[in-house]
Amino acid sequence: MTADTEQPLAPVSPLVRYAGRFAAVTRASGGAVRLAELPLLAQLSVRLDAKGPAAEAVRFALGLALPVEPDTVAFSDELAALWLGPDEWLVVGRPGSAAGLEERLRAAVAGEHAAVTDVSGQRTTVLVGGARARDLLAHGCPLDLHPRAFGPGRCAQTTLARAGVLLAGRDEHRPGYWLLTRSSFAGYVADWLLDAATEYVADATSIT
């Protein structure tokens, strides 16, 4: 069973209640910090042998090669493929595309030692942008996010404060980060981000 886009219902994303506060911080910081949920992105866990025929079949099916260099992201117009492990990727697509993606991927890897799992509900995505995005994350992320070490096209599973997160540098044209957090931790991560933004918000409004 997969995310069903035919439902007439409005899906509720994990951080729907934070939209106002994210927007307020973005505004009050004068753009120094931009926070926004990118809700309900299609996410598929893909497990296969990176050197085997399944990898090639997926490349053909998606028009996107799964990256083999650890902690990197490959982008196409529609999709991003994030390296999670030597035989594990997260393929991210537009909201509502999970069922179709799963079908394409399953068809591609049929008969191989591979697994495709719809995990769209496992995580939600927060856009962390703005000139101070790196400083903001440095309050809780032990990784070196300096462009020399973690530029566009890099991703990493690591910790942010006390939660595990999947962090990805977006591409050159869209500076900032995707922060993927487990849905059940999303409220904590959002609260943490809003709190960490305190100094950057006041920077732009009340500090001369």
Binding site: D71, L84, T158, T159
Partner: protein, 92 residues
């Protein structure tokens, strides 16, 4: 905070990993063939050297790969890190 070289992700903070005890203690091929004492040795007995020690770590928070590390238990120096299935280094 140790910096542990994950063979896949590179050096990361110790907090991202879980410790898995002594390396190279394989599950016995046929447990039923073992005496109680032999089985107890597998279950409960591990080396505890002062000096280089081959041990297992898992990069739990990230790539979830198990791998082996040779760590000097006296200095915490990581002397080697290698993937499961790879041969360990010879530590003199």
């Amino acid at each position: 905070m140790l910096l542990i070289p994950c063979p896949w992700c590179g050096p990361r903070d110790e907090a991202e990993f879980t410790y898995g005890g002594q390396a190279h203690v394989p599950y016995p091929r046929d447990p039923a063939a073992l005496t109680d004492e032999e089985w107890a040795r597998y279950l409960f007995f591990r080396d505890n050297p002062k000096g280089p020690h081959a041990e297992r770590w898992c990069h739990t928070i990230s790539c979830r790969r198990w791998f082996n590390v040779v760590r000097d238990t006296a200095t915490n120096e990581v002397l080697a890190a290698y993937r499961i299935g790879e041969a360990g280094p010879v530590i003199s």
